[in-house]
């Protein structure tokens, strides 16, 4: 028997032309889908920019920055965007002040201290929390948290930044917790072992080695949570009110940027009117704020991410 297999080239006839054609078709289909998302983004940003320019034809940019009133629907309209920004800043600051410690401690507890059993219970609970519709959170803030807080803080009004911010904070906690936990989990075991081998206690290893190593991921989770808080609409519209007020007082009704957009969008504002253009100017401001945050986060992660292989 001949052990040497004979080479028979006629058995190998790939249809190169057919595979080239199907490659081209597949590439076109994927390209088209990618294009749709790119075009959508360009369309949205383009509309925002166009309508914003229209807006600034009628309202001087300087007034937009310096007016201390926000009364676009009044006959004597004023457009001080900082009135709305101060409202968004109040709810977001309170929210982050809640979500940062809660989320981070939850993440540290889950990844470093909790046994498998506890994790199995707590992780799904966090996911359930993340899945609660924000309208439910809004009503919870308005109908439960506000009355509860009023029993301690009598000056607290029915609509206010405080309970909206608190509940907003609870609603973004799962985001901080789960992204920070991913970041902490990604810290290689070898680093912890290195710390323990030097006689570190668990707390020392976590505080001095694990958390600094996970810093870039933790910071980006917080920034994402801040953008989420700034863009959140339902909770602040329901629980913080519709009342533009400049300042830092968390006990009074306010109107966030998102709440204003809701208010105007729900009313029958004719397209092309000044009020209509106003929502684009506010929308653009929101967009720019979150864009700056995302750029910062991107830069921070690039700058501080540690590469382990």
């Amino acid at each position: 028997m001949n052990s040497e297999p004979t080479r028979n080239d006629s058995l190998w006839q790939p249809d190169r032309q057919a595979s080239r054609t199907s490659e081209a078709i597949v590439r076109t289909i994927f390209g088209a889908f990618a294009l749709v998302s790119v075009l959508t983004t360009i369309g949205i940003v383009g509309t925002l920019i166009f309508e914003m320019f229209e807006f600034f034809q009628e309202v001087p940019f300087w007034n937009f920055l310096t007016d201390d009133q926000w009364t676009p629907l009044f006959p004597t309209a004023e457009f001080g965007i900082f009135v709305l920004i101060s409202a968004t800043a109040r709810t977001s600051t309170i929210a982050v002040a809640i979500a940062l410690p809660l989320g981070l401690f939850a993440a540290i507890f889950l990844s470093e201290y909790a046994g498998p059993k506890t994790r199995q219970i707590v992780k799904p609970l966090l996911e359930v929390l993340a899945g609660i519709p924000s309208v439910v959170f809004g009503y919870f803030a308005l109908l439960f948290v506000t009355p509860l807080l009023q029993s301690f803080i009598p000056i607290l009004q029915g609509f206010n930044a405080l309970s909206a911010g608190l509940v907003l904070g609870i609603s973004i906690t799962p985001l901080v917790a789960s992204l920070s936990e991913d970041a902490i989990f990604a810290v290689p075991r070898s680093l912890r072992d290195g710390a323990y081998a030097l006689g570190a206690t668990k707390r020392e290893a976590i505080v001095s080695v694990v958390l600094p190593a996970a810093l870039s991921g933790i910071v980006s989770s917080i920034i994402l949570a801040v953008s989420r808080a700034i863009g959140e609409t339902m909770i602040v519209t329901l629980a913080a009110g519709q009342n533009p007020s400049l300042g830092l007082n968390p006990f009074v009704p306010i109107m966030t940027m998102t709440a204003f957009i809701v208010q105007v969008s729900l009313g029958d504002t004719p397209a092309g009117s000044l009020a209509y253009k106003t929502i684009f100017a506010v929308g653009m401001t929101l967009f720019l704020l979150t864009l700056v945050l995302n750029i910062f986060s991107f830069w921070f992660v690039r700058r501080f991410r540690e590469k382990y292989d």
Partner: protein, 267 residues
């Protein structure tokens, strides 16, 4: 067979008696008995999976960090059993340091890589001095003295490993355990680490795991050869085959398995 004459008569730094290590219900290493004399370098050699790292991790109780690991038998260190309930593994690990297979510097500055261990252990002396002295002893001072504030991760692999050795000796341990410290290094860095081991021997007791026969014969005074045998049911259990002076292990071993392994005629 374990040659008693090799296990020098002075008080040993470490002494394992009837050491068995389990992962879950599987016995990974059985009945290890050996003495590690002070100020000597002891090499652990043997095929992959025979339990060298497992035994090494018993010496500073790093196995405590593996939830499934369980140890029976005793390891005496200065007359007390390491596994006695009164022993605090955190305190123990300051006195028995460890260098790992893959360099694992902390994502901190070179300076703080060294200072970290000293700080957590309550070092009250001059920190700058300690950092310099440790880096000098680890033969890396000249390469890093101008960039102490740069990240330890920015060093080459060989430099990182010497930084990890510097970090280990900074806290003044009595024993240093090294698990394949050169396996990720190029020949030049390996040579530097080996020279370093020679230096360190004056003050420390060193146990080193290595797959490199030349390395074992170059750096060690005593060599322990481990092997694994298959049990019924397919699992393997590691055991200490032979422990003797390095020259005897390499030139005149008592066991055929040792002879086959060190001469590369194995498996």
């Amino acid at each position: 067979m374990v040659n008693e004459s090799a296990q020098i008569a002075t008080e040993p730094a470490l002494r394992a008696e009837n050491l068995n290590v389990y992962y879950g219900s599987t016995l990974a290493v059985r009945e290890v008995n050996l003495k590690i004399p002070k100020n000597k370098v002891v090499a652990f050699i043997g095929p992959s999976g025979c339990g060298k790292s497992t035994v090494l991790r018993c010496f500073n109780r790093m196995n405590d960090l593996i939830p499934t690991a369980r140890v029976t038998g005793t390891i005496s260190f200065q007359g007390t059993n390491l596994y006695a309930p009164s022993v605090d593994p955190v305190e123990l690990r300051r006195r028995i340091g460890m260098v790992f297979q893959k360099p694992n510097p902390f994502p901190k500055s070179i300076y703080n890589n060294i200072a970290f261990g000293a700080r957590i252990n309550g070092y009250k002396g001059d920190m700058d001095e300690l950092v310099e002295m440790s880096l000098r002893r680890a033969a890396i001072w000249d390469e890093v003295k101008d960039k102490l504030q740069e990240s330890g991760l920015a060093l080459s692999g060989g430099q990182q490993q010497r930084l990890c050795i510097a970090r280990a000796i900074a806290i003044a341990p009595e024993i240093i355990l090294m698990d394949e410290p050169c396996s990720a290094l190029d020949p030049i860095s390996t040579l530097k680490v080996e020279e370093l081991i020679h230096e360190l021997k004056q003050q420390y007791t060193i146990v080193i795991v290595t797959h490199n026969m030349q390395q074992a014969s170059r750096v060690s005074d005593l060599t322990a050869f481990y092997n694994a045998e298959a049990l019924e049911g397919g699992s393997k259990v590691g055991y200490l085959v032979e422990y003797d002076r390095t020259t005897s292990i390499f030139h005149n071993p008592a066991e055929k398995a040792t002879q086959d392994y060190v001469s590369g005629r194995f498996g």
